[in-house]
């Protein structure tokens, strides 16, 4: 197996590393593939590895005892999941499920410890990654606590459309509901309200943002 060092270079954890360092880190990397809906990580299980998405998309989610889902993040190419358990040795905080066929690179918890010791730059990069993650989750909590549903839907649409990080998986209304902590019916009603106001247009398999400023005001 030949690990793509160009891909590693593009990952935030390994930003600023030279080729020699990337090659030494590449020796620790294992590959994993998963099919749609396959669980890659299970919540509360021992966090044995940190994963990076090479292709496809993964949703990180919590599931209540009643079976209700809250999607925490959608992880795409170049992004990571299961960082915290791989770093602190605790159980996985959430499950990670493939949204379609995915290809992953993984580094075991033990090997990640070695990498952090041998490459201080990686340790610094990881603190930045986790810092960004904290900011993201504070914003999510704020939205879930204070925004009305239509505001959360508007923000989700804006964030998705403005995200320039590459191909994004298509979302069902059920996915959107799980991302913003509401019921599918409420997402449907909010989309209808936004469409009636001319802010968006619902096409066959596409939601088209017609008035971005109006959507920002609604968010």
């Amino acid at each position: 197996m030949s690990v793509d060092t160009d891909f590693l270079r593009s990952v935030a954890h390994f930003s600023g590393l030279g080729l020699a360092e990337l090659r030494s880190i590449a020796k620790f990397v294992f590959e994993k593939s998963a099919q749609r809906d396959e669980l890659i990580v299970e919540e509360a299980e021992p966090g044995e590895a940190l994963y990076f998405v090479v292709s496809g998309a993964v949703k990180e989610l919590k599931t209540s005892v009643e079976g209700k889902e809250q999607i925490l993040r959608i992880i795409r190419r170049g992004e990571s999941f299961n960082d915290v358990p791989a770093l602190d040795g605790g159980p996985s905080l959430a499950s990670a499920q493939a949204m379609g066929p995915v290809h992953l690179y993984g580094i075991s918890r033990t090997d990640m410890g070695i990498i952090l010791q041998e490459h201080p730059t990686v340790a610094l990069n990881v603190t930045r990654v986790l810092g960004e993650r904290v900011r993201y989750f504070v914003s999510l909590v704020e939205d879930l606590s204070f925004k009305p549903v239509i505001g959360r839907v508007a923000k989700l649409l804006l964030d998705y459309a403005e995200d320039g990080r590459g191909p994004r998986p298509r979302l069902t209304q059920r996915d959107m509901a799980a991302m913003i902590g509401t019921a599918r019916e409420m997402v449907g009603r909010s989309l209808k309200t936004l469409e009636d106001a001319g802010t968006i247009r619902m096409e066959r398999h596409r939601i088209v943002i017609q008035d971005k400023e109006a959507l920002r005001e609604a968010a």
């Binding site: 459309a161 069902t172 996915d175 599918r184 939601i207 088209v208 971005k212």
Partner: protein, 67 residues
């Protein structure tokens, strides 16, 4: 061919609730699993996804800005 709702055959329990709400008559039950028979008829209203109790039907959307 137009993009169609996606059906997970393993999740479909053949309850037929989606048949009842489909105004386009695009859905058919074959061997106790829902199949979309006539793609021209489906207008992607997403009611089938809304009513499905097992999450077997998915109607995904791309989110784009008007160019």
């Amino acid at each position: 061919m137009a993009l169609m709702p996606e059906i997970d055959r393993e999740l479909c329990n053949g309850c037929g609730l989606c048949l009842a709400v489909c105004s386009c008559k695009a859905l058919v039950l074959v061997d106790n699993v829902i199949v979309i028979m006539e793609s021209e008829e489906c207008d992607y209203c997403t009611q089938c996804e809304a009513v499905c109790p097992t999450g077997a039907i998915s109607c995904p959307f791309e989110i784009v800005e008007e160019s």
